[in-house]
């Protein structure tokens, strides 16, 4: 195995899961493995151009391929819908009620975000990208990305507060709650 092949294999083994996790939220589940494979096929052709910090580069390729693979007819399907479908499937075999409740709460909160806000939140929280890297993947400026991230997190916090405040027995964390009323 030459040096290029060795580097490619390292990238493949190290980043396959991350790339798949990113792709799976953007294409039909049945296509996710194919698109992930295509990302690494591109990576092999361009292995000499891939920067040391390879994940942002790989996710950028994944974003473009997912968009192309998925076609214009379905590009608007929301990340949260996909996440719900994927996590429903994944949790079907598990017997962890607490985990399912936490997942449902998280999904409900994430659904309040715009698709781009949700992308910003998950890119930083799940893939560990810094703002400049995540902005390149998201296809926007760093400033725009940070605003998107800030808004997303703020909206998420607010939604979680609101849903906690709507419970009959509020969590202590949301106090002081002034009132809750159904209209």
């Amino acid at each position: 195995m030459d040096e290029r092949e060795a580097r490619f294999t390292r990238l493949y083994e190290t980043h396959y899961r991350s790339v798949f996790g990113y792709v799976a939220l953007r294409v039909e589940r049945q296509a996710a493995e194919d698109v992930t494979g295509e990302v690494f096929a591109v990576a092999w052709r361009k292995v000499d151009e891939i920067p040391e910090r390879a994940l942002p580069w790989l996710l950028g390729v994944a974003k473009n391929l997912a968009r192309r693979s998925h076609g214009a007819t379905d590009h608007t399907r929301r990340l949260v819908d996909r996440l719900a479908a994927l996590t429903d499937t994944a949790s079907a075999d598990r017997d962890a009620a607490d985990g399912v409740i936490a997942r449902d709460q998280a999904l409900s909160a994430l659904a309040a975000l715009s698709a781009k806000e949700a992308e910003a939140v998950t890119l930083t929280a799940w893939h560990g990208l810094d703002p400049a890297e995540a902005a390149r993947v998201a296809g926007c400026s760093r400033a725009a990305f940070l605003v998107r991230l800030h808004r997303g997190r703020r909206r998420l916090a607010r939604t979680l507060d609101a849903s906690a405040g709507d419970r009959e027995t509020p969590e202590p964390i949301v106090r002081p709650r002034v009132s809750t009323e159904k209209s």
């Binding site: 490619f8 493949y12 396959y16 798949f20 799976a24 939220l25 493995e33 992930t36 494979g37 690494f40 096929a41 591109v42 092999w44 379905d74 608007t76 399907r77 949260v80 819908d81 996440l83 479908a85 996590t87 994944a90 985990g99 997942r103 449902d104 709460q105 998280a106 999904l107 909160a109 659904a111 309040a112 715009s114 698709a115 781009k116 998950t122 929280a125 799940w126 703002p131 926007c140 400026s141 760093r142 400033a143 725009a144 940070l146 605003v147 607010r158 979680l160 507060d161 609101a162 906690a164 405040g165 709507d166 964390i173 709650r177 002034v178 009132s179 809750t180 009323e181 159904k182 209209s183």
Partner: protein, 357 residues
């Protein structure tokens, strides 16, 4: 809600995705298979940065909208630009500055806003997604409104927030075929901001530190109670914004570093400042600063989701729709993404009250 709690909620979803990734990893082809694979098409290139196209020179408000044959292309599809009017960006911004300056500066105890978020959805609700089921083959556009009151609390930096929604949730379908597919699927409820198309409106009121409502300039939060007191002349506001920009250029909070382009920094800050209860002087000054920014373009007359006519300002992948009559922000639209329409906003004296104008 603290930052680490938000992280915990986001991270609650990660294990399920990781499980799928682990399973896919086990099935992954050998690296040699991928090395041998022909890539069928090149990766789509990123769109180039928009060119700069501006009318120059101070002109009257009446001349801001000039007759021309075509408009710049590149709309999101949300808005239909009128193909007969090209906008002189600088002239429009200066005219908006004059208009904003003439608006009365009002005060009240609570800032009220009614906003409507429109979004595209392509499938059923999470609860309807059965394990292994394929997504349903229809597309829809949904929208719902929320009313929010933000009231400063005396003697503290906290605010009392009240939110009511989702209100008037609606779904529309791009084609009759999509609607038929949705009906065939059992007419499932669809996502809207804060719920679904069948969620009953609910009201929540709570007190929180004001950072949840504070507008942002770069990495700096502007305390809610000081928003109406932001500088109200172009020179003062410009000096204030440049000061923040220079600090952010050296590196601000949370790893943020401001862009080298001051105009880009100001435009992003303007999103929040136009949405917040800034004074008419601040809004006017902001328009004057933006008028000096060549990267900002007025891309045409558009109709917002409420059918109101406005002018679109575009930069940074974002479109702001401005009401020429009041210089107020009508709509915030991430190109190709969701859009937030400002149906009504203004000061009121009590939480739950509606502005009279």
């Amino acid at each position: 809600m603290k930052s680490d709690q938000v992280n915990a909620v986001i991270n609650a979803l990660k294990p399920a995705v990781d499980e799928l990734a682990d399973a896919a990893y086990e099935r992954r082809p050998a690296p040699s298979v991928l090395r041998a694979r022909e890539v069928t098409a090149s990766v789509r290139r990123r769109r180039p940065v928009r060119g700069i196209a501006l009318g120059l020179g101070a002109v009257t408000a009446a001349a801001a909208v000039a007759v021309a044959a075509t408009l710049p292309s590149g709309g999101s599809g949300h808005h239909q630009a009128t193909p007969s009017a090209a906008i002189d960006t600088r002239a429009f911004l200066l005219a908006s500055a004059d208009t904003a300056a003439k608006q009365p500066t009002t005060h009240g105890t609570c800032w009220y806003k009614r906003t409507r978020m429109s979004q595209e959805v392509g499938g059923p609700l999470p609860s309807n997604v059965k394990p292994g089921a394929r997504p349903l083959p229809f597309r829809a556009s949904t929208a719902a409104s929320h009313e929010d009151w933000i009231c400063g609390l005396p003697g503290t930096t906290d605010v009392r927030l009240r939110s009511r929604g989702p209100l008037d949730a609606r779904a529309t379908f791009p084609t009759k075929k999509d609607e038929a597919a949705w009906r065939a699927a059992g007419s499932p409820p669809l996502d809207v901001n804060g719920g679904t198309t069948t969620t009953k409106p609910f009201t929540v009121t709570y007190d929180k530190p004001s950072h949840i409502a504070n507008p942002v300039i770069g990495s700096f939060e502007i305390p809610w109670k000081s928003v109406p007191n932001l500088p109200a002349t172009k020179a003062d506001l410009n000096s204030h914004l440049r000061g923040l920009w220079q600090q952010d250029r050296k590196g601000g909070a949370h790893g943020y570093t401001a862009p080298a382009d001051y105009c880009q920094y100001v435009f992003v800050a303007a999103w929040d400042l136009f949405m917040a209860p800034t004074s008419s002087g601040t809004r006017s000054s902001l328009y004057r600063i933006l008028a000096d920014c060549p990267s900002l373009r007025a891309t045409g007359r558009v109709t917002d989701s409420q059918g109101r006519r406005g002018v679109a300002l575009t930069s940074e992948g974002v479109r702001l729709v401005v009401d020429p009559a009041t210089a107020r922000l009508m709509e915030f639209d991430e190109t190709g993404g969701d859009r937030l329409t400002f149906e009504k906003q203004g000061w009121v004296d009590t939480i739950g009250a509606l502005p009279t104008r």
